[in-house]
Symmetry: C2
Subunit: 392 residues, 2 copies
């Protein structure tokens, strides 16, 4: 039989990163985005899960309501307000199946075929592909050292009459690693408000800051329901449980709930209960300090090795957090060839083109991850990167 796929999906390719992950086999995974396994609170979670199955197994196994387990929503309301400064009284919290689902729900709630999503250029491929899969056209706005270029954003807002939202990762942007200044956060909020376009603020890495000062989210400026905030437990607790949460203006939250009913009914209760009890019985502060120490060590190790072995061939800015370093190869190195040769040499890195709105555009960047590989893997990976660089 011949299939007539939807226009949006017919043209969409599988995520380059997940495809690399799937086939990376024995390569050193500088391409991945997995949190470090030693950052998972395994013994806490083991205790909690035993308790859940002993004390409230039916709650954990039965259907739940779409918005999420009520006590978890309540505790996240407090956390979003007090810890993340990302909630007002006009907002609701909804539990989602990872923060990825927030991108999907927002697309379903807002995108008609041909509408525009304004995004940072480069940006997270998982979000870009989600917008594409829902029929959106992408309009990229360049990322500068202090975040999205707000002049270019204003230009885009003027030109894109069908813009539905602005997608941004203000903290330790994936893949560029940059952190948006407070001034730009306020500026983006004001522009969004002026042009009547939602801001979708994605903050998966907020708790991984290893240098510099905390900066309030764009959501902290929101007085009139312009910003939808996406939070995740993938980097704080663990990604395999697939728990994210959105702080959204109530009217939007209601639509996201309707969309979520149609996608997966609700997020698994066991995952939700794990997060609920962990937040209640353990110290997020203490655990986040531990995570930060791990990532600081691994980031420093990667940067030290890059400085030692790769400085003739690359340029990069050390990020203040997140899981990635965005590395520019010298002009004499063919970027795609370099990635291919790295893979053959036994280290996988992601070609920067994967993060562009047009993945055929010229690009000298590659993305390196330091959370997934072991310390030895980081060292050996950069050694292999140097061997490959020497062939150009």
């Amino acid at each position: 039989m011949e299939y007539k796929f939807s226009d949006a999906l017919a043209s969409l390719k599988p995520s380059a990163i997940r495809e690399i992950l799937k086939n990376s086999g024995t390569s050193i995974p500088l391409s991945a985005g997995n949190p470090a396994p030693d950052a998972f609170p395994v013994s806490d979670l083991t205790e909690i899960i035993k308790k859940i199955m002993e004390e409230e197994p039916i709650l954990a196994l039965q259907y739940g309501i779409t918005e999420g387990y009520a006590p978890l929503r309540e505790s996240l309301s407090v956390l979003a307000k007090d810890r993340y400064r990302a909630k007002s009284d006009n907002d609701s919290v909804i539990i989602t199946s990872g923060a990825q689902q927030i991108m999907s729900l927002m697309s379903q709630a807002f995108i008609n075929e041909g509408d525009t999503v304004i995004c940072e250029e480069p940006s997270f491929i998982g979000a870009l592909n989600c917008f594409r899969a829902n029929g959106a056209r992408l309009r990229g706005v360049p990322v500068q050292k202090d975040g999205m270029d707000t002049d270019e954003l204003e230009k885009a807002l003027k030109e894109e009459k069908r813009a539905k939202f602005i997608y941004t990762i203000p903290n330790f942007q994936n893949p560029a690693g940059v952190t948006m200044s407070l001034e730009k956060r306020e500026k983006i909020y004001n522009l969004a408000k002026e042009y009547g376009v939602i801001v979708l603020e994605d903050n998966p890495y907020g708790d991984t800051r290893t240098a510099g000062e905390e900066i309030d989210p764009i959501k902290s400026f929101d007085k009139d329901g312009t910003v939808v905030y996406a939070g995740s437990f993938s980097k704080i607790i663990a990604p395999g449980i697939r728990v994210g949460f959105t702080v959204a203006p109530k009217e939007i939250a209601a639509k996201l709930t309707v969309a979520k009913q149609t996608q997966d009914v609700h997020t698994p209760l066991l995952s939700q209960l794990l997060v609920y009890h962990w937040l209640k019985d353990y110290s997020i502060e203490e655990h986040v300090s531990k995570i930060k120490a791990i990532y600081k060590r691994k980031l420093n190790l990667l940067c030290d090795k890059l400085d030692e072995l790769m400085s003739p061939y690359i340029e990069y800015e050390k990020p203040e957090g997140g899981l990635f370093v965005w590395v520019k190869l010298n002009d004499n190195i063919d970027m795609l060839q370099y990635c291919k040769k790295c893979s053959e040499a036994g280290v996988s890195v992601v070609p920067g083109t994967a993060f562009l709105t047009d993945d055929t555009a010229p690009c000298q960047y590659i993305r390196l991850n330091f959370s997934t590989p072991t310390d030895e893997g980081i060292v050996r990976g950069v050694e292999l990167m140097k061997e490959v660089a020497l062939t150009f």
Copy 2:
């Protein structure tokens, strides 16, 4: 701020059933669709989960691949082929976040705004709303005692030039309770093939048969990639873990995987590992026998009570499985008023209109569930239903 929601979602109302569930409070829930908690293999799952957290916690907590945990996919391939007769060598198995997600992925993969989904009339509201939320127009085909009216289906296939798939629940259809004959299953397969339209065969209740003989699925006829089969563990193991699986022609499975990447990256590993180990270490046959005994007892109790107390006011056919009885009220009873009064009297039932492609069409039916309420609840619920019927 004023929001410009997508056309498809702007007009969609929250699922009437889930809204009733949410607000049913102390009512006797004849409206729900929850499996009976005593059907959950709690002690098996508790053992398994402890073992997972002791032996493979990182596997359970780390990111996984989108298609699902490979050993689970393999064991479901065997199960789909041998137990359900629902897989050929041209098909792939993908693990999904409940079977609901299969409806969502299929919609994303196939539906352009304005395309048609042909469905049974009445049908499962969760699926109908999903198709609507993805911009599909619904074309209903009446359900007869032996399943979808195939003459009407052929008429619909002739008229609907933009039909993308035919959605059907052949076993113990929700809400009508009817089971499709083998002849009609083959007929539908042949019609679908002839008109080049996919069949989306949803089988959430297959393992709840309490009377009659097993009938092979539509998928068992599939030689050329016309049928996508949706299976679920919600009624076999537990719904709160949100694990479903699809058996789909390889080319479609690849597109569903791309769509799933954009929705939730992957189904929680803990849920997938639970199903994997349960299938490996416990007997599905034995457990399904136990479930059937529970449902047989509860179905009989409900029908006995309806026959005893409600026969002057209603008509119904006893289903051979599933969780629901589809009940026709006498013409003198205003159906919506009846539902409202039942709710006030302390028993909640679902108005049949919730399951129609046009929920303003006239309808004398209500849907009753017997798996969620306790045995006492069933008895008391029907008593209250009678008290309300007396007021008409």
